[in-house]
Amino acid sequence: MTTKRNFALGCALSGALAFGGTAANAADQITFVSQGGAYQQAQTVAILDPSAKKLGITINQDSIPDAWPTIKTQVGSGKPIWDVVDTPTGYCLRGGEQGLIEKLDFSKIPNAAAMPESYRSPYSVSYEFYSSVLAYSQKTFPKDAPNSWVDFWDVKKFPGRRALRNHPIATLEAALMADGVAPDKLYPLDVDRAFKKLEEIKPNITVWWTSGAQSAQLLNDGEVDLEMAWNGRVSAVAKEGAKVAFTYNQGILQSTSLCILKGAPNLDTAVKFLNEAVDPVHQANLPLNIDYGPGNPKAFDTGVIKPERAAQLPSEPANAAKQALMSYTWWSSPAGEAAEKRWASFMQK
């Protein structure tokens, strides 16, 4: 069987289930939701299609850039349509605490149980890794390029226009590293210290970007000379010929995770799929299609990813060692949520 990228069908089928559950093979399908675009296409080829074939299920796909509000309304309404969501790990944790996400039984998900503990939570399994890195224009910095957040904050040594993401996640981590905190000593974040450090760089920030596409555009157009951006976005414009580069040094390693909606219509199949989706071989296929790293580090042992390719990926062990691993547990704690809320007043001051 194949995956069907057909939301209408997904709705119709889920609807049929809700109204009597007589649809044929009702248990052998799930609705999977991701973020669309090139990313979802890559995972369809690498992970979704092979998983569907191996398990003999149908995977109906839907995509949405930001799944959180919909998760909340779907589960809140008591009749969720989606089963599995690929979303920033923080949403899975927050959703778990708010009763919107199913607690996982790892005895049924052996592939995930074998992953490092920091790569999973009671509600989620890391699915792919990306990194918030320091990116810069090679035109502005042909040599002696900025190589750390200390450099990013050093406006004298590295004059130029700067951009940061209009979001506290990863930005506070960068600020603390700029202030001398070691990447593995970040958590719990010293929020006051981070905001203080951010105040310092604030007058030199030209743009606070809100979308990944915008960050790539800014660098590509020469609107900014150095910025925090996601590694895949930077390498994409670099491939198109822009003179831009980035460093994994002091990058903030982030992940999206798979989680299952509370009361998902096809819970059992969803759990089976979750296990299959983090299978090392499927996972190893992902970076052959897009510049993101596998969520399961065992993928690097399969031999599918060539060493030179692995070296480009954010979650490759040597690259991962240079970076800070984001703690979504901290961000979904009360202190993390308070830091998020503080961001709005920081921006408007």
Partner: protein
């Protein structure tokens, strides 16, 4: 004793029934797509595990909300004034030239309507950014040595917003000016007034309803602007609509978002109410 229905009354009632049947699909659509969601929205702002006014307390006492509302009203006011200054001469010109020319002018005013707001925002980005057309041209002319910061700030936001809202100023102005009888101007001239005096004493006062209508339209539409400040504001120009979306996406506070939206909606209704004391609302909304 029973009432014998008057045949004409019966006819009238049947006609009313028919009218109601005809408009009911539209009413249903409005009910389902506007009244219910807005009602649900308002409900969310006051109900979260019990009744609460916490969301409104925050909107009215917390600094960031105040700042955002103040900024939104400031920008809307600025945009309205600029649109009026730019739009009035255009409407005046369209009104005073022969028909063929006025059609041309009005088409040029309306033309941008057919381009999406998103495309126009990006077009402004292409014009205004550091490596944009305007900066490169000025550097080519040696007028400036460093690129000007024309976008990713409030300036860029205002420029693009004025561009997008200008038709909403010009059209009501033109409609009002059309209805000012030319005879009055001639009468003024025949009594010895100079053209500028007839304009000031006759034309301008008679065009004021159009000014009010245009200004109301532009101001109210600007209050809800989202894409333009999001793309051209550089992240610092946080207008109320952005506050709504950030509350949902970033801070996960549906109640707070609803409260902000309700306050914005009520401010718009209040503005319409005040304006309706001066001119008929049909003028503002339908450009009668």
């Amino acid at each position: 004793m029973t009432l014998v229905p008057d045949p004409s009354q019966k006819h009238q009632r049947r006609e009313h029934g028919l009218m109601l049947a005809l408009v009911s699909p539209a009413l249903l659509v409005i009910l389902l797509l506007i009244v219910l969601p807005v009602g649900w929205l308002a409900w969310q702002s006051i109900y979260h595990d019990g009744f609460t006014l916490e969301n409104y307390r925050r909107v009215f006492t917390e600094d960031i909300y105040w700042r955002s509302f103040a900024l939104t009203f400031e920008i809307s006011l600025g945009v309205t004034v600029i649109a009026l200054l730019l739009g009035y001469p255009v409407a005046y010109l369209a009104n005073s030239v022969p028909k063929g020319w006025s059609i041309l002018i009005l088409s040029l005013v309306v033309l941008p309507f057919w381009t999406s707001v998103l495309v126009r925002a990006y077009a402004w980005l292409a014009l205004l950014q550091r490596t944009g057309v305007i900066n490169q041209f000025l550097r080519y002319l040696d007028v400036i040595s460093e690129p000007l910061a024309l976008v990713h700030n409030t300036f860029g936001t205002v420029v693009a917003t004025v561009h997008i809202l200008l038709p909403f100023m010009v059209l009501p102005l033109y409609a009002t000016m059309q209805k000012i009888p030319g005879d009055l101007m001639q009468a003024g001239a025949s009594l010895g007034a100079s053209p500028s005096l007839t304009f000031m004493r006759v034309f301008l006062p008679l065009s004021l309803p159009g000014v009010l209508a245009g200004c109301t339209m532009v101001f109210v539409l600007c209050l809800g602007f989202y894409i333009t400040p999001e793309l051209l504001g550089g992240g610092r120009t946080v207008m109320v609509s952005m506050l709504v979306s950030r509350n949902v996406e970033l801070y996960n506070q549906f109640g707070a978002a609803s409260a902000v939206a309700v306050v914005l909606l009520l401010s718009v209704l209040a503005i319409f109410f005040v304006v309706s004391r001066f001119i008929s609302l049909d003028r503002v909304l339908g450009q009668k």
